[in-house]
Amino acid sequence: MIAWLSQPWPWYVTGPLIGLVVPFVYWFGGRKWGVSSSLQHMCAAVAPGRVELFQYDWWKRGSWHLAMALGVVVGGWIAATFLGGADQVVEISAATREDLAALGIRDFVGMVPGDVFSLERILTPATFTLVVVGGFLVGFGARWADGCTSGHAISGLSNLHRSSLVAVIGFFVGGLFSAHVILPWLL
């Protein structure tokens, strides 16, 4: 069982499992599933300041998002520690591997290239841009768009919302620009 779970999971297993979270949260909690709201609840809990968006009872409205987020951290740890996730070699296509190698990526073991994503290099331009600028834009954009990949691409499209389709098109416009214009220039 553990050996079986420890292999990389194919997309036709992963996708349906993620899809099932949508009806589960509607059924269990009576509400729409989304992850990025947790970022807003942290703001409301820690530093609401005088920002109107953060003036609400974060525990009442957000504790479920935060409990789930904490769970994802623990789940990541379990996958890495007991299921071989930490040194899982992601079998990306040969073309992608060539492209990334041409950009200077050398470390292809694990979820992310360790030669870029490391705490020691956080102040180098490449790592800073990927982690800090990238993270900032993810947080800013997710709240501006009223949802991220989970809230729009999965939950929203599951509701056949045109707003979510527009948001997902936006995700791709931005992502294509980052992948094809910013990264080659940066790395």
Partner: protein, 165 residues
Amino acid sequence: MSGQVSGQVPAHGAEDDQDGAPPGREAGLLVYLLLGIALGIVFIKGEVASWFRIQEMFRFQSVFMYGVIGTAVTVGVATTLLMKRRSTRAMRGGPIDWPDAGAARPTTRHMLGGTVFGLGWGLAGACPGPIYALLGSGLPVFGVGLLAAVAGAWMYGWARPHLPH
């Protein structure tokens, strides 16, 4: 900072009422914690949290991420339609708080906010869920990424009255 702006954030009254109902808030939170744990495992083992997979997706060089998103949405659409058709009630007996028609109408915020999110997704190679999973998987650099994402959410809240929606 008027009604027009605050109208962007829907009221959460129904949600709050349900939270007080049995089986109780703490038991509910435990279930969400367990759901999160399952998701964290899926994000890592399913490689959704992989920067490599996101780069591959934005280069259209594999079906992998499209397969994940496509099958997730297919399952989501089918189960959501079924629940709506059967008027399924929430486990605790209350009605399900389906997003209203207003949430379905595309506006400027979806286009612009979505594009900003995408710029970040293409760089960091991780959306909010995977950021949590990567942090847990033993990559402390994503703690910095998480702080940056929270800072981004905060700055959005601060800038919101001045942004088009």
